[in-house]
């Protein structure tokens, strides 16, 4: 059941009306496959690690219900995140079913769990819809990547990136966004590794800001109605993930529909048991990670969002 909302759900700490998104059309449906992961990265905003069960493994039976409902609602794409999706013993079957219906995107660390199931993954190139992978390469420096993810894992991920591309799958990478970084220089530093992997040099690079641990409450500016209309255009507001996307999460044996991929640690954002129900719920931009979407754009999604980061303007909204 969706949680009863806090008293400050509608109003900011200063009593101003919170900014919100009224969802329009379900374009993309995300599935959280569970917080169990083969790695234990200190910065993981999901708190994922081996055996973690804050969010439980989704089963094929769990996923089928939402895949079918989403198709009826006109969804265009399914995306999967974790944890590491390939740690979930049901994941390959879920992906198999989803690829019969719509294109799919999988976020993965591209290490042993995927490598060990590569034969099954290869077979998906014959499915009716396309499959893409977004692989975590946190830094263009293998040493820095491996400091968090374990020795040798940059090389493994890069190697798997190349193998997936050669099998005809779409590929992109995800990296950490550093404070006051020179984004162009950092992106360019990946080029020698893209050459080595044999992938195109214009592989899409998705940058993630610091999202903090699940349940943390870092201080960020609050987003008010005024912020949303003063600093963002209509198309930028439409680019918020909660406008066109939802995420399925399983906790304590029950699946719920959450507003987006970043708020699964707050029951306020469990919007219902069906997609139809969840799409009717106005999403208040109260979570500290909503500010990342406001300031930097909806970086979780690929190709669905025309919002460009408005950091300079957005930080002025600190009501």
């Amino acid at each position: 059941m969706p949680m009863k909302h806090d008293n400050n759900w509608l109003l900011s700490s200063k009593g101003e009306k919170r900014g919100y998104i009224q969802p329009q059309l379900l374009h993309e449906l995300w599935f959280h496959t569970g917080t169990s992961c083969n790695l234990r990265c200190p910065f993981c905003f999901e708190g994922s690690k081996p055996g973690d069960d804050r969010l439980e493994f989704l089963t094929l039976e769990d996923a089928k219900v939402f895949i079918d409902e989403a198709v009826d609602l006109g969804v265009e794409k399914f995306s999967f995140t974790g944890g590491e999706p390939f740690v979930n013993p049901h994941f390959v079957d879920i992906l198999d079913y989803a690829l019969d219906h719509k294109p799919c995107l999988v976020l993965t660390n591209a290490t042993e769990p995927l490598m060990n199931q590569f034969a099954k993954v290869k077979a998906f190139s014959a499915k009716p819809h396309t499959l893409s992978f977004r692989i975590s390469l946190d830094h263009p420096d293998p040493v820095k990547h491996d400091e968090s993810r374990g020795k040798g894992n940059f090389k493994k991920a890069l190697d798997t990136l190349g193998r997936l591309y050669r099998e005809g799958f779409g590929v992109s990478i995800a990296r950490l966004m550093l404070k006051e970084e020179d984004s162009k220089a950092i992106d360019s530093a990946y080029l020698p590794y893209f050459r080595r992997a044999g992938v195109p040099l214009d592989v899409k690079i998705i940058k993630f800001p610091e999202f903090h641990k699940p349940g943390s409450m870092p201080h960020v500016p609050e987003i008010t109605e005024d912020c949303m209309t003063r600093y963002l255009s209509t198309s930028q507001r439409d680019g918020f993930m909660c406008n066109y996307s939802k995420m399925i999460v399983k906790q304590q044996g029950v699946c719920g529909v959450y507003a987006c991929t970043l708020v699964d640690d707050d029951g306020n954002y469990n919007l219902g048991k069906t997609l139809k129900e969840a799409m009717s719920v106005r999403v208040m931009l109260k979570h500290h990670r909503c500010y990342s979407c406001f300031a930097y754009g909806a970086s979780c999604s690929e190709g669905n969002c025309n919002t460009e980061g408005k950091e300079g303007e957005a930080t002025a909204c600190s009501a």
């Binding site: 169990s36 790695l39 234990r40 055996g51 973690d52 390939f86 740690v87 013993p89 060990n116």
Partner: protein, 221 residues
Amino acid sequence: MNSLMVRRVIFHTDQLFELQLERGAVTFEPGHCVALSMDATESRPYSIASGTGEDILRFLIRRVPQGLVSNWLAERRPGERVQVSAPFGWFAPGRSATEEQSVFIATGTGIAPFLSYLRSQPPRLPLACFYGVSYAEEALGLEELRCVPHFRLAVSRQTIDNAFVGRVTGLLDQLPLGPGLHYYLCGLDAMIDEISRWLEKQDIDFTQIHREVFFYADETR
């Protein structure tokens, strides 16, 4: 999360021990791991070494210097309880055994998933098992392993009868090769990298090489 009672802690060396827990209602497949928790925040994954028909869960654990969880587990006494996650895993030794033959290669406590397989009344034994340890007393499960048609033990820091002296990678020229063979590697990342590269050079397809890497995380963190 299960709370399971400690049955025994058996030290094979100062650093290497077997933790035995009452099994409770845990069900698993050979190759599965569980996370063993010291408290609400610190846990580490360990492969199950027992057979699926046994009434205990066995874990082969090496004490890591300053390691939080491994040292805590080493100090458990019979009757105490340990928090155990649901089994999980992406490594399935012998999963292809009903149709194709397998070769197992392990170093150190990386033998655990293979012992689990051999102790689970498998439909077919692997064609070969190569096992590397530093000292003879660290070689565990030899009774089961000697049932494998081509079992080779490599001991790197000691000379003993019936064992190769050196690292397990020194036995590569004896490794059975064939297009239908599946290779299961478990242990130190350096061994897995070296043998994976070597197998691919011998035209073994990437999809027939299965890996489980231990020790890549900083246990003291």
